[in-house]
Structures are given as structure tokens and as C-alpha cells.
């Protein structure tokens, strides 16, 4: 079983990102769970959402405390929240930022990657909502979910042209990470 934590600010679509990840894994034929952090949430305040993915039915129902992967939607959160909390050493921290990892001043042994998701989203979708873009990057970086799964999830949640634009952003982010890793 793998566990994912998404950091964002209320209104950035972190819960939707988790929901889409869960749906993608589900349509990939895996078992999944997706949920928001337990408690109240406010627009603009730091929020978290979680995903579990497994080949077997998932029994446990609790918050995620030791994620394999962490996705950060908003780089300003790095100064506010310990996004590394509980992150496993062989895991991955994926951050929306146009900066290079070395410029972020993160002190960790865990692998860190950045993607200019905001810029991609503005260019392709025309709105500063980068949750779907980050999913494309996540799929490319980890291989835990398929592009097809993400496509199905987005089409299910956002039918029509909104969904198609988001899928285009996903593909662009996927290619970006793939080229970076070459």
C-alpha cells in the first residue's frame, strides 16, 4: 500500500486532487481511498488531503501519518507547514515551483522534484488552478497511476471542455517531468 499527502491552501483543489488520484487508481483496477484532513477547513488556510492506493482491499481508516509521497500545491506553504512530516526516506516530495530544488533550501534526504505547475496551468487552462497539472507530474515521477486513469478521473469529474483543458495540462506536465528525468 502507498500513501499520499497533498498540501495546499483552501480553494486550490487539494481535496479534488486526492479524489482524482483515488478515482484514477480505482479505474486502473487498484483499490483506493481518498479523503480530506479531519476537521474544519477555510479558504486560503493550509489544508491537507490524503490518498491510499493498494493492490488489495484497504482496511485501515485513519489519517495518513507516514506518507510515501507528498505533493505541495503552493510553495509558500514550505515556510508555514512542515511538509516533510512523516515522509518516508525512500519517498518523494513533489512541489509546484518554477524554482530548481536547490534554490528552495529544503534540508532532507528524501528525493525532491519541482514542476512549474502554476505556469503550465495558466498557459493551458488559463486559470491558476494547478491540481490536475500536478497529477500529470505525479504520474510521470512515480508511475503509481496511469495517464489513462487520470484522464478517466478528470472526464468523470469535469465533463466537457473544462476537463479537456485539464487533461492537456496533465499531458504537458507529464512530458515535462519525463524530459527532466532523461
Amino acid at each position: 500500500m502507498i500513501e499520499i499527502r497533498v498540501h495546499g491552501r483552501g480553494g486550490q483543489g487539494s481535496v479534488t486532487a486526492a479524489e482524482l488520484l483515488g478515482f484514477a487508481a480505482h479505474s486502473d483496477g487498484k483499490y483506493a481511498q481518498a479523503f480530506p484532513s479531519f476537521g474544519s477547513e477555510r479558504m486560503g488556510a493550509p489544508v491537507q488531503a490524503f490518498v491510499r492506493i493498494s493492490d488489495k482491499p484497504i482496511r485501515i481508516r485513519s489519517q495518513v501519518y507516514k506518507p510515501n509521497y507528498v505533493i505541495v500545491q503552493d510553495p509558500t506553504l514550505l515556510e508555514v507547514v512542515n511538509v516533510l512530516d512523516g515522509l518516508q526516506e525512500n519517498g518523494l516530495l513533489l512541489i509546484n515551483s518554477k524554482k530548481k530544488v536547490s534554490e528552495l533550501g529544503i534540508n532532507t534526504k528524501v528525493k525532491v522534484m519541482t514542476i512549474p505547475a502554476m505556469e503550465i496551468a495558466m498557459e493551458v487552462i488559463g486559470r491558476p488552478i494547478m491540481n490536475t497539472t500536478l497529477l500529470g507530474a505525479f504520474a510521470a515521477a512515480t508511475g503509481e497511476i496511469s495517464l489513462d486513469g487520470i484522464r478517466k478521473a478528470i472526464q468523470h469529474k469535469f465533463p466537457g471542455s473544462v476537463g479537456e483543458k485539464n487533461i492537456a495540462a496533465v499531458l504537458k506536465a507529464f512530458d515535462f517531468i519525463k524530459k527532466e528525468s532523461l
Binding site: 479524489e19 483515488g22 478515482f23 480505482h26 483499490y31 483506493a32 481511498q33 481518498a34 479523503f35 480530506p36 479531519f38 476537521g39 474544519s40 484497504i58 482496511r59 485501515i60 481508516r61 485513519s62 489519517q63 501519518y65
Partner: protein
């Protein structure tokens, strides 16, 4: 049959849609609101043919639900926590009317201090009302239990309302795969409701819920409710057998996990029992013969099933996610009374944990198993204890410092 990623709230709404209810009075409260929002949308879209009314409070909501049910239609409603308590007077009233409505409660710790996360003081406060109570561990179980609940409620041997409980957040907002049964199968299992005892017909007027003065009539009716509830233990088994036959999934009054050859047993309810099961698995790896008993049917309390399940065990720890202030864990007391007259009773330990949704960490479960083993070795049973970690204690001390309060230094076992 389709399998979809649904939250517990959406699974509840699906159960209600498949039950083809006629009437839904509604009042919002976190973390339940998604249930009534989903139903409202379906009714507005025309995929669910039912009346939907938003009322001014839970008190009115339960009154409307009971009154509608007394006209012979199938009724659903939902609430949580403070909402359940606000409608409390009417819980007893509508149960006494013997109306077979189904209500979902999404558990949330009671105020004050105010919170949003789950424990079971809300639902357990209603345990003496006459409502049957089914407590769920998974989103699938929520959907399935609503269908079973209508069968139980509408059975002429029972005719009591049913509360189906799920934990807020841990189920209500957790999206997981849920099988949505075909409507034809549901209709086979749960046919349309034709009330014989209470209906609305101009040519046959009837008075319901009349006053009875002098205790003999009151005693009679009250005890009838109790007998019907006890009778539902028997009916439950028929209903669950039939449910298994139609849908292939099976739910008994209690659920055992690695229980058969277990010597040390945890007793839990609702979604936190998934944490208990993980802990049992870990304890087994360490060579402890651990097991878990989850109680699903809380009213009527399945005494005999519990006695049978715990018979011959060395020690049993009841982990209550509730607190009866001035007494302790509620389920512990109920289990103790179920076991008292048996000859070969296990040692019975009491723990309170997970209040207000506090996580129960692996270390806390280890502590519970260690306590059981120690109790068996020494013959001494520890006093009831609150599960709380050192880290949590330090965080609390820090909060007290911020509030300008003096902090206390106490020696605790490291958990």
C-alpha cells in the same frame, strides 16, 4: 452492479435511493449534510421520486419523519451529534409511535468543547430510546445497513425505527470503492412498504400516539417496545441470511477478527475497529494470540452472541470511544452485564480512547495488549484508563503554557 468511489455520505444516499423512500425531512449539520444534499439533488433531478422538505430544526425534522411514517410511507432522515440531541425528545416519541423510519447518524463528538471529529457519545445517548442501532465500519456497510434497516424496521414483529451510525470524516468524507446493487435485487430484498398498522385513509380514521394515564397501560406499551427490540435479534438473523443470499455480503450482529483461537480480545465498534484489526495483526506477528470483536448491532444488544464469542478467552479489553461522565466506558458496562452470570468469564479491562476523533496510535494498542497479558499473569485488573500518548500530553502542556496555565509534571508510562 457497479463499483464506484463513494464517500460514506454518498453511500448512505445511495442506500436511501435504492430503498425508494417516499419522504425526506432534512436539516443540515456537519458532517452529515452531504447526505441530504445528494438526496435533494436526486429528487430535484427526478431520479428519486420522493418528497423533500427542509425544516427549521432537528426537533421538527424527527417529528415530521415520525408523522409521515405514521401515514404508512417510507421515510428517511439524517443527522449528527448536536442535531441528534436537539431532536432528542422526539426520538423517544416516534419510537413509541412504532413507526419504521430509518435515520442515519454521522457520529461527531458532543459539545462542549465543540469539535467536528467522531466519538460515540451522540449515538449512544440514544441507546434507550427504542430505536434499533446498527454501527458501521465501512462505506459499503453503510449502504447495505440502510437496506437491512428498512427490512428490520418494517417487519411486523418489530415496527421500531432504526438508527444507522457511521463515523464522521473517517467514513462520511472518505471515498472508497462501494458496490451499488442493482435496483431489481434491492426490490427483491426490500419490497415496497405496505403498512397494516398505521396509514392515512379518510374512510378509516385512527388516533395515534394518544395519552395513557395510570401506569398499567404505559407499562404495557413500553414493555412491548422492549420485547419487539429483543425479538429483532431473531429477525436480524433471518434478514442478514437473506441479505447474503441476494447480495453475497454478510453482516452478523457482531464481527470477529482472528477471534477463533484468540486469547486476548479487543472489543471495539465503528470505523476505529479497522485500527484495532491492524493492531491485532501486528500483535499476532509478535506471537500474541490477539483477536478483535466488533459489535455492529448495539440495540438490541446481542448479549448471547457476545457471550459465545468471548467464552473461554483469557482477557478482554473493551475500548470505548465514548465516556459516560461519572461512570466510564459505556460498552464496557454493557459487556460486563452480558457476561456477569456466565461461569467461565475472561478478565475484563476497560479503556477509553479516540475521544473527539483522537487517533489511536499503534503504541496505544500495544499498551492495551500488554495490559491484558499482565492482568492474566498477575491476576490484577488495572483500573479503567484513558489512552493518551506522551507526545499528545506534551502538546497539551504546550497549549496550557500558551494559555498562561501552570503545567503539571506527571510520570507516565511511555506509549
Amino acid at each position: 452492479m457497479t463499483r464506484e468511489m463513494l464517500t460514506g455520505n454518498a453511500a448512505a444516499a445511495w442506500g436511501v435511493r435504492l430503498a425508494e423512500v417516499d419522504y425526506v425531512p432534512a436539516y443540515p449539520i456537519t458532517p452529515q449534510t452531504e447526505i441530504i444534499e445528494t438526496l435533494a439533488k436526486w429528487i430535484s433531478d427526478g431520479v428519486l421520486d420522493a418528497g423533500f422538505v427542509t425544516v427549521d430544526s432537528e426537533h421538527s425534522m424527527i417529528t415530521a419523519a415520525g408523522a409521515a411514517s405514521a401515514t404508512g410511507v417510507r421515510v428517511f432522515t439524517a443527522t449528527s451529534s448536536q442535531g441528534l440531541l436537539y431532536g432528542f425528545e422526539m426520538l423517544y416519541s416516534v419510537a413509541g409511535w412504532r413507526v419504521p423510519l430509518v435515520m442515519v447518524n454521522v457520529s461527531r463528538g458532543l459539545s462542549s468543547p465543540i469539535t467536528l471529529e467522531p466519538d460515540h457519545n451522540d449515538i449512544l445517548a440514544a441507546r434507550d430510546s427504542g430505536f434499533l442501532q446498527i454501527h458501521c465500519e465501512t462505506c459499503q456497510e453503510v449502504l447495505d445497513s440502510i437496506l437491512m434497516a428498512y427490512r428490520l424496521a418494517e417487519d411486523e414483529r418489530i415496527l421500531l425505527p432504526v438508527l444507522v451510525n457511521m463515523d464522521g470524516f473517517h467514513l462520511s468524507f472518505t471515498r472508497e470503492p462501494v458496490e451499488i446493487p442493482e435496483i431489481e435485487l434491492v426490490r427483491k430484498f426490500l419490497p415496497a412498504y405496505h403498512s397494516k398498522h398505521a396509514f392515512f385513509k379518510a374512510t378509516q380514521p385512527m388516533a395515534q400516539g394518544v395519552a395513557v394515564l395510570g401506569g398499567h397501560a404505559y407499562s404495557y406499551f413500553k414493555y412491548q417496545m422492549h420485547l419487539a427490540s429483543i425479538k429483532s435479534l431473531e429477525v436480524y438473523k433471518e434478514v442478514s441470511d437473506e441479505f447474503k443470499e441476494v447480495f453475497g455480503r454478510s453482516y452478523n450482529t457482531i464481527e470477529g477478527y482472528m477471534l477463533d483461537n484468540a486469547e486476548y480480545v479487543l472489543v471495539m465498534t465503528n470505523s476505529f475497529s479497522t485500527l484495532g484489526k491492524e493492531a491485532v495483526k501486528k500483535a499476532r506477528v509478535k506471537g500474541i494470540k490477539a483477536g478483535l470483536l466488533r459489535i455492529r448491532l448495539i440495540r438490541p444488544f446481542p448479549d448471547m452472541d457476545i457471550v459465545k464469542a468471548l467464552n473461554g478467552k483469557k482477557a478482554v479489553a473493551v475500548l470505548d470511544q465514548n465516556i459516560s461522565v461519572g461512570k466510564g466506558g459505556i460498552v464496557y458496562s454493557e459487556i460486563a452485564s452480558a457476561l456477569y452470570n456466565e461461569r467461565e468469564n475472561p478478565l475484563l479491562l476497560s479503556f477509553v480512547g479516540g475521544l473527539g476523533g483522537k487517533n489511536i496510535n499503534p503504541g496505544e494498542f500495544e499498551f492495551v495488549f500488554d495490559s491484558m497479558i499482565k492482568a492474566v499473569d498477575t491476576g490484577k485488573i488495572p483500573a479503567p484508563q484513558l489512552l493518551y500518548t506522551e507526545t499528545e500530553w506534551k502538546e497539551m502542556e504546550n497549549l496550557k503554557k500558551i494559555a498562561g496555565k501552570q503545567t503539571t509534571v506527571i510520570k507516565t508510562a511511555s506509549v
